[in-house]
């Protein structure tokens, strides 16, 4: 997913790239998007979709990018820790 996208495309992207694992209620995406917007991590603007309809497009702000990087490394540390607990042999090898 590159550049500004509308909610529906984001939902589809998540569904597809997570190999359909993350497919919960699509609707819950919107409160999340608006919360991110309130934090200033993403910004939204209205634009025409490729089918010519008005759609709300979201893009990452610079501070959002920074936050993402920080959260990503936290998540990686966390998932590695979980990995170590579940599969100690794998990691030691």
């Amino acid at each position: 997913l590159r550049g500004p996208e509308h909610g529906h495309a984001i939902a589809k992207h998540i569904r597809r790239t997570s190999e359909e694992v993350l497919k919960v209620e699509t609707g819950s995406l919107y409160p999340a998007l608006h919360r991110l917007e309130a934090q200033g991590w993403i910004a939204a603007s209205w634009d025409l979709s490729d089918k010519g309809k008005r759609a709300r497009y979201y893009r990452l702000t610079p501070s959002g990018k920074k936050h993402l990087v920080a959260q990503q490394s936290k998540w990686q540390a966390f998932s590695r820790a979980i990995g170590l607990i579940l599969n100690p042999a794998d990691q030691e090898g």
Binding site: E25, T26, G27, A38, G40, R56
Partner: protein, 761 residues
Amino acid sequence: VNSIFRKLSWLIRRRTKEDELREEIQFHLDEETEERLENGLSPQEAERAARLDFGNRTLIREETREAWTWTILEQFIQDLRYAARAIVTNKTFSVAAILSLALGVGANTAIFGIWNGVLHAWLPVFEPDKLVMLSNPDASGMWTGRWVGREDGDRAWLTYGEFEQLRDQSQTFSALMASQSYLDEWQVRFEGSEAEQVRGRLVSGGFFEVLGTTAALGRTFTPANDRADSSYVVISHNYWQRRFSGRPDVIGKTLRLRNATLTVIGVTPRGFIGETIGQQPDMWIPLRMQAAVIPGEDRLRDTPPFKAVWLHVFGRLKPGVTKTQAEAEANAIFQRDLESFYGDRLGESRAEFLDQHLGIHDAAQGVSDLRKGISDSLTVLLVSVGVLIFITRSDLSSRNAYHSSIGGTEMMRNILVVLLTIGASVTVANAQSTCAASGGLNFICNMQAPEDLVLVPGTRFLIASGMAEGSGLHLIDTQAKTARSLFAGGISTARPDATKFGGCPIPLDGKQAVLHGLSLRPAQTGRYTLYATNHGGRESVEVFEVDARGAAPTATWIGCVLTPNKLPVNSVAAFSDGTLLATVLVFPDKTFQDVWAGRNTGVVLMWTPGSKEWRTLMGTELSGNNGIETSADDREFYVVSTGLKRVVAYSRANPSKPLRFAQLKEFAPDNVRLVGDRLITAGMIDNEPACGGAPKKPEDIQCPRGWVADTIDPKTMAITELARGPAAAPYTGTATAMPVGDTLWLSSFNADRVAYRALKH
């Protein structure tokens, strides 16, 4: 700020946002439906599947709206409207609700007081608002090792070497000091005693100077203690009382602390805690002793590439220097030091190591370790108080059956209301109980009975006497509107001059002193002789040398002249040859009733340097001889008669009868002082209705009365009113009026404060 604007703009565009959200969700559903149509579903099936997949739209919209945070404020406003309606419709319920809430709020105001005190208290030091710090204790950081990159903010702590560079090279600070950033626990053993645990800090020699503190007993460290071995310790007043029951022989005692043997050289004044609010060190030791006190480490020298970053650095800016200027200079020195320290050792990461910065921060609140630590737990306490009150409220409101469900946001709102209410009531309570302005006057408090005021010429400082046991002398900064003790007794503040004051038996005991009238006369350049009448421990005129050459005047006791027959003398004035005049207000065989009746009750006494006796100046008998002043040419003197409400002029050569007098009307003049070419006298209004008219019994003069200050031309005795004001309890007892610039300062013989206001009203 950005996010506030973002939220505000949302609030304004609320209607549009609702529409936009609906449109956004509709777009999503349309896209989904379309996709399903392409997969071969019927339009109805496609739409239904899209909706199912999307979830509960109303709920999602609600959740999204909550992300717009201002919901809370809106609900709060709705709540206020609801409350207003409810109070009107159900009065009994409202009274019960308000009473129980008031009770809860009242009971917990104290907690807010602590919270407020911890978070907002100023350091109990001289002119805390002028104090700055170069360390940055609110940043998190390592206390040893290195500090990399400005992205982490200003440097948190400094090394001893960095402090030394700043101390020696800076031109923008009048003084700098360093202190150990954490309170240490030590085991010490006084000679001949058991080992005991104490808490203390290593500090630089300028520590006490920068905080504006002199010893209550003995002496404190000086900057010289940074340069020579200094096996000394200064103990706190609290520890002195607790451990040594306030015995003065504590000075000179030695104690053993790890590898150091230290001698007690001083005790700090009561209430002095140093630079960190919430910590009460028992003792302070020169940083120079670090190797002996913290053995096995050298924290005074940095060995590249490691720096021992462990010190707070505080300072005071030179007059006229801004924080920006000082910060620029400090960073220039700091950068030079960093570059020479790291040299070319660092290779690629060099730039990173040099990218460090010092910030200059206001330090009126001192170090905030405690604030950091305790503010969370106090906040929790406050919130739990809020929860308690919330329970009261929700109980009431559920009984009232208006509200059927109470959610998390309502709890937040309740806590908010409670906090606002507590905050408001504390502000009001503080304003009432403390030093807040009243009757058109502002105050500086916590000085017992500052009866008289003299201005130190060429400075912004007033000296106030303290006519209550142990009140001593006070130094008032008329610009900063702050005061501190100038003399409270102690060995370091006495330097007896036996030649001039051979008849004075022992130095004045600051704890006993009751200092009354003042007279300040020039001595050598930048120095003055201060005379003060005293009733504590002995009846005398006490003499001090005031040194005004430094940033702030200091006072050293140099002698006394005892009065004849232990007669209390009220006011004193000196001629330029050191001859003293002092007034006796009421001889022991007379009373205040005699004063108010206008009968003679007192006299003027004269003492000449070198003589053993005072001489009574016959002809100066007046009704209530009170304030006294000498003329600029030494040829005349002026005596206040409180009973006759007069200022009477006498010839020094022949005082046998008055030359002339000024007749005042409404008020009983108290002290008189020559300011420029005019005499200024002040006192309380006689016929004060609130006090039942003119005083009849001695205790009547304790009643808060209005005040008047007049100027008198000593040549013609023509009177001009300078200022007047109504009774301004708890201020009362106006005795001296002293204009400084465009501000008028008023003393008090019985309140705990001096008053000031604009000269022109």
